[in-house]
Amino acid sequence: MIKLFSLKQQKKDGESAPERGKKSSAAQLRIQKDINELNLPKTCDVNFPDPDDLLSFKLIISPDEGFYRGGRFVFSFKVGQGYPHDPPKVKCETMVYHPNIDLEGNVCLNILREDWKPVLTINSIVYGLQYLFLEPNPEDPLNREAAEVLQSNRRLFEQNVSKSMRGGHIGSVYFERCLK
């Protein structure tokens, strides 16, 4: 056990050593590590509008199987200084007919909210989002109409998804074309 200060009679002043310049924050160092080790599935790509800002980026998912095959969906990620204690904020920027994504782009994915843990990484979220397109989950709906159709009539759901991706109305809602 060390005795911390040779404290006796030692006044402190702030003038001593020169500063090394402002250090990067722990959130910043952690996101650099996360990004450097992104291991993206082949259907996903990330885009950094400003490479100096690793805290803000887009994820593009282009599913190659399932209901959403052929579509192209853009998600925005905003990572705060609380990361990884707090999860990043993720929004879907592409309007999509999906039980777990509402028309404002809010995403219902457990690890983005109630099940987030600091050991999870950006990669975990990428895989979570990709899975939402392979297995939309009608049990946890955000877009309840879409969920009800998926539960009652898979065939109709499939048609609605194709129609929305080509650009068209489902009920009164117009979806922009998002085919690749």
């Binding site: 056990m1 060390i2 005795k3 911390l4 200060f5 404290l7 006796k8 009679q9 030692q10 006044k11 402190k12 702030g14 003038e15 001593s16 020169p18 500063e19 090394r20 310049g21 402002k22 250090k23 990067s24 924050s25 722990a26 910043q28 160092l29 952690r30 650099q32 590590k33 990004i35 450097n36 080790e37 992104l38 790509d45 990330v46 885009n47 950094f48 490479p51 100096d52 800002d53 690793l54 705060g80 200084q81 609380g82 990884p84 204690h85 777990n100 809010n106 995403v107 219902c108 457990n110 983005l112 909210r113 109630e114 987030w116 843990k117 050991v119 946890d140 709906p141 955000l142 309840r144």
Partner: protein, 437 residues
């Protein structure tokens, strides 16, 4: 005014002028210890809220006179039940100044200096003035910031930590009837980031519950906060919710009530609405008092060596009876904040970024696979090179051909390198001039 009187410090001298079985091995009973506490020892208290008021009072009564306090808040009427240095006439004044004035008047000889500011407003030259820093904060971001600051102030000689560069951090936290106190010796023991898992996560309800199956009044308020506000933008486009703006809270309250009525949920009040919006956890005065007392005791132990400090994390709850548990939180080998000692690397101004990259890839010490290199210049982060992400690689590839001078990198600049071969990113300090062999 007489600054002291006979017997005033007897309670402290009993511990500083006699030894005991728990004393630090190097402790020598002496009258100089009290003198040190009173005249030399300089303590920083971060936060002048529930914990901060208690801490200031405790430290001052232990004989510490040179205290600085930082707080960025002003006094709200709801603080008065537990933040006992404040009176109704003080509502609206700054917490830091009001608390400092109160202590200075009430405890003769005490010299508390107030800073109505954010911790981020100060740099290392400010924090270096203090022997010990004690925190009574309610924000993890602020804790991590000060933790990172103290770690960045450590100096190493030949890879050995210079112990005189350590400023111990004593950290207290409370949430209702639960609390904890801990001692962090930056660079030596577990830091805030080592134990990020120990901080309770924010309560987040599943979005689908909020959207479609609300059962609690909180679900209704969260619905309005998360889903309705961005959609309706009641106070204009892009206006964020301000939990202290009565107009904002009233709007949320009204919409939440409408939603609660739809689902036959009761219990929505203004207070609850503001609590959910501001994520307030009810503060309990007695928990604050216990945790602050534990923290002040640790400050006293560290400053006097009269006793071994807490090793290093104490949990406390008084939900049913009183329970405490102390354990040694472990320093993590891959902690992003404290795991690595900054290492020097030497290059010339005319060397290219490619030369640094090649060195990281080929040197026998590192043998990295796909390192990314970032730095911070004037507080702004810069990505110098990252191979693994195509969009960044394309935009930073040109940097490889630039000289270090062209990239505005000078001696002493920190470079942060992440690579799959290392558990955490490494910090290098650039030494300009002599070429490394």
């Amino acid at each position: 005014m007489a600054v002291t009187w006979s017997g005033r410090w007897n309670h402290v001298r009993k511990v500083t002028e006699r030894t005991g079985p728990f004393a630090h091995p190097d402790f020598e009973p002496s009258t100089e210890t009290l003198q040190f506490l009173q005249e030399v020892c300089h303590i920083l208290v971060i936060g002048a809220g529930g914990l901060g008021c208690e801490l200031l009072k405790d430290l001052a009564l232990l004989g510490i006179r040179n205290i600085d306090v930082i707080d960025m808040d002003t006094i709200d009427v709801s603080n008065l039940n537990r933040q006992f240095l404040f009176r109704p006439k003080d509502v609206g004044k700054t917490k830091a100044e009001t608390a400092a004035n109160f202590i200075n008047l009430r405890i003769p000889g005490c010299n508390v200096t107030a800073h109505f500011a954010k911790i981020q407003d100060f740099d290392a030259s400010f924090y270096r003035k203090f022997h010990i820093i004690v925190c009574g904060l309610d924000s993890i971001i602020a804790r991590r910031w000060i933790n990172g600051m103290l770690i960045s102030m450590l100096s190493y000689e030949d890879g050995e930590l210079d112990q005189s560069s350590i400023i111990p951090m004593v950290d207290g936290g409370t949430e209702g009837f639960k609390g904890n106190a801990r001692v962090i010796l930056p660079g030596m023991t577990a830091c805030v980031d080592c134990t990020l898992d120990l901080y309770p996560p924010q309560v987040n309800f599943p979005l689908c519950t909020i959207a479609h199956t609300p059962r609690l009044p909180e679900h209704c308020i969260e619905y309005v906060r998360i889903l309705l506000w961005p959609k309706e933008e009641p106070f204009g486009a892009g206006v964020a919710i301000d939990g202290d703006d009565p107009a904002h809270v009233s709007w949320i309250l009204e919409k939440s009530q409408e939603r609660a009525n739809e689902y036959n949920i009761s219990g929505i009040t203004y207070r609850l609405t503001q609590g959910v919006v501001k994520r307030i956890i009810p503060a309990v005065a007695s928990t604050n008092a216990v945790i602050a007392a534990a923290c002040a005791t640790e400050v006293f132990k560290l400053a006097t060596s009269c006793c071994q400090p807490l090793n290093n994390y104490m949990n406390f709850t008084d939900i049913e009876g009183v329970y405490t548990y102390t354990f040694e939180a472990e320093k993590k080998d891959d902690c992003v904040a404290c795991s690595q000692k900054p290492q020097n690397i030497s290059f010339c101004e005319s060397d290219k970024l490619q030369d640094i990259l090649t060195y990281l890839l080929e040197s026998t010490t590192y043998q990295m696979k796909s390192p990314s290199i970032t730095t911070a210049i004037n507080g702004k982060n810069r990505t110098l090179y990252m191979q693994s992400v195509k969009s960044i690689e394309e935009k930073t590839r040109a940097n490889l051909k630039k000289s270090l001078a062209e990239l505005e990198l000078c001696s002493g600049q920190e470079l942060y390198v992440a690579d799959p071969t290392t558990p955490s990113s490494l910090t290098f300090i650039l030494q300009m001039g002599t070429k490394m062999e």
